[in-house]
């Protein structure tokens, strides 16, 4: 399992982006990431839940228990103001970074 620093940071960024749109429980977040990446990225549970709790610890998301559409009790995650700020700066940095990596890889090798 390639849980590099890089991946951890990216996962958190994606989670933040997911809950930016509204409260979501952990299962839905995993689904959402898989769907948006066209099935390429599958957030593993083993990484997702610890990431959620870490984010909550850092005050970037907060949680509350609520009821799902199917009537189940689930823990919903909401983005905080700090989380939104963090998401904005970090996703900008990520885009810059990935564009740079792409540019490097696109250039002809010597």
């Amino acid at each position: 399992m390639g849980r590099s620093q890089f991946y951890v940071g990216t996962l958190e960024l994606m989670v933040l982006h997911a809950v930016k749109g509204g409260p979501m429980h952990g299962y839905a977040i995993g689904q959402w990431i898989a769907e948006k990446s066209g099935g390429v990225l599958e957030a593993e549970e083993g990484a997702l839940y610890p990431a959620l709790h870490r984010l909550e610890n850092r005050g970037l998301v907060r949680s509350e228990w609520g009821t799902t559409e199917s009537g189940r009790q689930a823990k919903f995650y909401l983005i905080t103001a700090r989380g939104a700020r963090h998401l904005a700066t970090e996703s900008a940095r990520w885009r810059e970074h990935s564009a740079a990596v792409a540019a490097v890889l696109a250039s002809p090798g010597d």
């Binding site: 083993g46 839940y49 709790h53």
Partner: protein, 890 residues
């Protein structure tokens, strides 16, 4: 987050606390359930779906643990935040409470401020004297060398030059044994006015031992102490600036000191005024081979410990050395023991230390009274809050929470009190510095509010808050909410604070009684000294110091003629009534202590006897001070150098040593500085010269005629009909006519001298009186509060009793009886305390404990009067209670 209304926040039951572990478990369970549902929807059978879901989730235990950790941290943080939030609420609620009762708050804050302020002042004084160290590198390695307090004496003995030389040759623990002697010189021959400056004669290595380097020029070298080397001197930076305006060409300049030309070889750095407040230094010439232990003038001795040597080693070596010296020179040193102390210790005598610490305890006692008052105030106030507390308890606030609320309020009262107290201490120290005579204050003493004092005050503030808050807090937390809420009308009696406040009153009365007795003793002796009938009017007497120093005055006979010339000249001045010379004024502390011997006594047998205080006078000095000759005669011109030595003794000396027998023509021996007994024939008896002392030995004196004794520096005392200071130019011109280089200095009235001699004592007395009065005022306020509180509490009961026909006087008795018991207990305990305190304080009082009883009785009267006042005022309200009204109010 929206702020809930203050009331809700303060009275909050417990907040919902999520369980961090269950939280995680449920979350994982939900995930698996959701997954399973999805798989079932895709067509898997439920059992298979469940298995797949779990498998896919992975190691639930590990993931769970990772989540638990994060979740628990969060939960802990949350508890902490809640606690702090509660604390903030307590603070806000407390502030409201405090501001809702402005008068109570004002009294409490002022009380604490006064209590903390005066103990802050006292601690600053102790800090300034006892906790300061010499401003030299590794000053803790500088040790003072003396002889231990002799039996029956009060102060340690300093070394004589012979002792110093003997010890210096044999010691090995110090880099070298150093010595210095106090001195003063008339400075002239440099273009400035002839003036006298304080200085010291120091061993040539002394400054190197202190590790000071000169700002200009050089220190002394061993050669400087040799008689054949041209005379040199060192000067202080202060002297350099005031007398020579910082002249850069100062080193090498020649100045006359007591008529001897000396070259300035160096200027010491700024603020260096060793040993205490001196400006000039000359090298000490110790090597007189003829000097043996027990001989020579006195010197102060100290040394710097060698590298690797300890204090204990130094002490052991000097114990041994001095023991040996005592064996080899038993005549003077039979019972001599060494005394090695940290250098600074010598400058704060044991008596002064005891008194300072006693005073600190006294101020802490005042602070204790203040705490008691504040505790009482809070107890009384808590009474009015019984319902509030009950409601909070009923709503789920724990005892801890209620206690915390009370402690927080107590802190809220203490914090501004302490800040104000700090201010009081600062103002107090400003006043203290103004009143403190600076000339005799060692230069490293520093009286001010520094970090140490601030820390002390902060600590006391904490202590005060706890002490004054804990009791009300415990009481409040102990309330039973069900009782108070159900039986509203009895709510006030539920709060059983009566017994507690009663005990506090006893403590208060006891402390202020003790302090007042001490203050009374101080005040009384101060009053006594200033109103004492000296037999002369101190305001009408001029005193001035004249030193006949220098080679021109080396011949004693010639010197005596000059003294006679000065006396005759001053006596002839218009306004001068009587004139005399003396080596020390009646009440100053500069009398010379000499061991004495009666005829037929063996010196070895009386070596433990207290020495006698002696002074030198001229014919006419006694008349000047209005002292009649009781028996025999005054000194006269016929008592010359060649004639048999004569002496006059005081009545007390005669009585102690000769009983009722006639003392005229009896002989007494006095030990001179060379260790030789010199015999004197008693020719007269006079009454006491100075203040009647608590120590009778101090008024047993021997007076010697100047005509037979070699004195260079004397004080001239002139009884004047008009303004004494107006005579100053006349006295100066008489002396200048003899030699313009002779300085006339320290010109003052005898009253000034008296005030100066007593200044430190006056200061201490004033402080103590202040403490005592403060304690009394605080106790009165406290007592008033307690009685008013108790009357208020029993208002209803009194109303019922009145309605049932009780006599008003009986009601007064009913309310006042417990107070009377409490005050009585307090007075009793106070009397015991006062006895202990006065034992300590009489150590510095000049008048004796004979006055302790009348002073105690007077204090007792004053206290009783104040207590009555504080009790009667609120008691009057009992008589004003209208039964109809008091019954209706509930």
């Amino acid at each position: 987050m929206t702020r809930r209304p203050l009331f809700r926040r303060s009275f909050r039951v417990t907040d919902f606390q999520p369980d961090p572990d269950r939280d995680v478990e449920e979350e994982i369970a939900f995930h698996i359930a959701q997954k399973k549902e999805e798989l079932v929807a895709r067509g898997l059978d439920p059992e298979e779906a469940e298995r797949r879901a779990r498998e896919q989730f992975g190691d639930a235990g590990r993931i769970g643990r990772e989540c638990y950790d994060a979740s628990r941290t969060r939960a802990r943080r949350r508890v902490r935040t809640l606690y702090l939030q509660d604390f903030r609420d307590d603070l806000r609620f407390g502030l409201r409470t405090v501001f809702r009762r402005p008068l109570v708050t004002l009294v409490a804050v002022t009380t604490i401020a006064v209590g903390i302020g005066i103990t802050g002042v006292m601690f600053s004084i102790i800090n300034g004297t006892m906790f300061q160290t010499l401003p030299f590198p590794e000053s803790d390695r500088l040790l003072d060398v003396e002889f231990a307090v002799p039996e029956g004496g009060t102060e340690p003995r300093v070394l004589q030059l012979g002792d110093y030389c003997w010890l210096q040759e044999r010691q090995s623990v110090f880099e070298d044994l150093e010595a210095f002697d106090w001195a003063s010189w008339a400075v002239s021959g440099d273009g400035g006015n002839a003036a006298v400056y304080q200085g010291a004669i120091v061993s040539t290595g002394a400054f190197a031992a202190l590790r000071v380097t000169p700002a200009r020029g050089r220190l002394f070298t061993p050669e400087d102490s040799l008689p054949e080397t041209p005379p040199v001197m060192l000067i202080s930076d202060r002297f350099w600036h005031t007398r020579y305006e910082g002249d850069p060409a100062i080193v090498g300049r020649t100045v006359r000191l007591d008529g001897t030309a000396r070259t300035i070889v160096g200027v010491m750095p700024p603020d260096f005024v060793f040993p205490v407040n001196q400006d000039l230094w000359l090298p000490l010439t110790p090597r007189d081979p003829a000097l043996l232990p027990g001989q020579g003038g006195t010197v102060e001795s100290f040394g710097r410990l060698k590298e690797g040597t300890t204090f204990e080693a130094a002490r052991a070596e000097f114990d041994g050395l001095v023991e040996r010296m005592a064996r080899e020179y038993p005549q003077r040193h039979a019972d001599t023991r060494a005394l090695i102390r940290p250098y600074e210790r010598e400058y704060v005598g044991e008596e002064v230390r005891t008194v300072l610490i006693a005073m600190l305890i006294a101020t802490l006692a005042v602070l204790l009274v203040a705490c008691v008052n504040v505790a009482n105030l809070q107890l009384a106030a808590a009474l009015g809050r019984v319902r509030e507390i009950s409601i909070r308890t009923a709503l789920g606030a724990g005892r801890g929470r209620i206690m915390r609320q009370f402690l927080v309020e107590s802190f809220l009262l203490t914090a501004p009190g302490a800040a104000l107290g700090l201010l009081i201490a600062q103002v107090g120290m400003y006043g203290f510095n103004l009143a403190m005579p600076t000339e005799e204050t060692p230069f490293w003493f520093h009286f001010g509010v520094d970090m140490r004092v601030t820390a002390y005050i902060a600590f006391l503030a904490l202590f005060t808050a706890l002490l004054s808050g804990i009791l009300p807090a415990i009481r409040a937390a102990g309330l039973d909410s069900r009782d108070t809420l159900r039986e509203e009308s009895r709510s006030t009696t539920t709060f059983r604070s009566g017994r507690t406040t009663g005990r506090l009153v006893s403590v208060e009365v006891a402390l202020s009684f003790a302090l007042l007795v001490v203050a009374g003793l101080c005040g009384y002796s101060m009053l006594y000294l200033f109103s004492h009938d000296w037999g002369f009017e101190p305001r009408k007497m001029l005193a001035a110091d004249i030193d006949l120093d220098g080679p021109a005055y080396d011949d004693p006979t010639g010197r005596y003629r000059i003294w006679e010339e000065i006396l005759a000249g001053v006596a002839a001045l218009p306004g001068a009534e009587e004139v005399g010379l003396t080596s020390s004024l009646p009440f100053d502390d500069e009398w010379e202590d000499l061991p004495y011997l009666l005829e037929g006594e063996d010196p070895a047998e009386v070596r433990n006897r207290r020495p006698v205080m002696t002074t030198v006078i001229t014919p006419g000095t006694l008349t000047t001070f209005s002292r009649a000759i009781l028996q025999g005669r005054d000194f006269s011109d016929t008592d010359g150098f060649q004639d048999p030595p004569v002496a006059i003794v005081t009545q007390n000396f005669a009585r102690r040593n000769f009983g009722d027998a006639s003392v005229l023509d009896r002989r007494i021996g006095l030990l001179d500085v060379h260790g030789v007994w010199r015999w004197y024939t008693i020719v007269g008896v006079v009454p006491e010269l100075g203040v009647p002392r608590k120590d009778p030995v101090l008024s047993e004196n021997v007076l010697l005629p100047l005509s037979q004794n070699r004195y260079r520096g004397l004080t001239i005392a002139v009884r004047v009909s008009g303004d004494p200071l107006a005579l100053t130019p006349g006295v100066r011109s008489v002396v200048a006519a003899i030699d313009p280089d002779l300085p006339v200095f320290n010109v003052r009235t005898v009253r000034d001298q008296l005030e100066e001699t007593l200044s430190v004592f006056t200061l201490l007395s004033t402080l103590f009186t202040l403490f005592g009065i403060t304690a009394l005022l605080l106790a009165m306020v406290g007592l008033y509060g307690v009685v008013a509180f108790s009357v208020g509490r029993r208002r209803q009961e009194i109303g019922i009793r009145m309605a049932l026909g009780a006599a008003r006087l009986d009601l007064v008795r009913l309310v006042s009886r417990p107070v009377a018991v409490q005050v009585g207990v307090g007075l009793l305990a106070g009397a015991v305390l006062a006895l202990l305190f006065s034992r300590v304080i009489t150590a510095i009082l000049i008048i004796g404990r004979d006055y302790a009883l009348p002073v105690s009785l007077a204090t007792f009267g004053l206290l009783l009067l104040s207590v009555l006042l504080a009790v009667v005022l609120p008691l009057r309200r009992v008589l004003q209670i209208d039964p109809a009204v008091s019954l209706r109010t509930n």
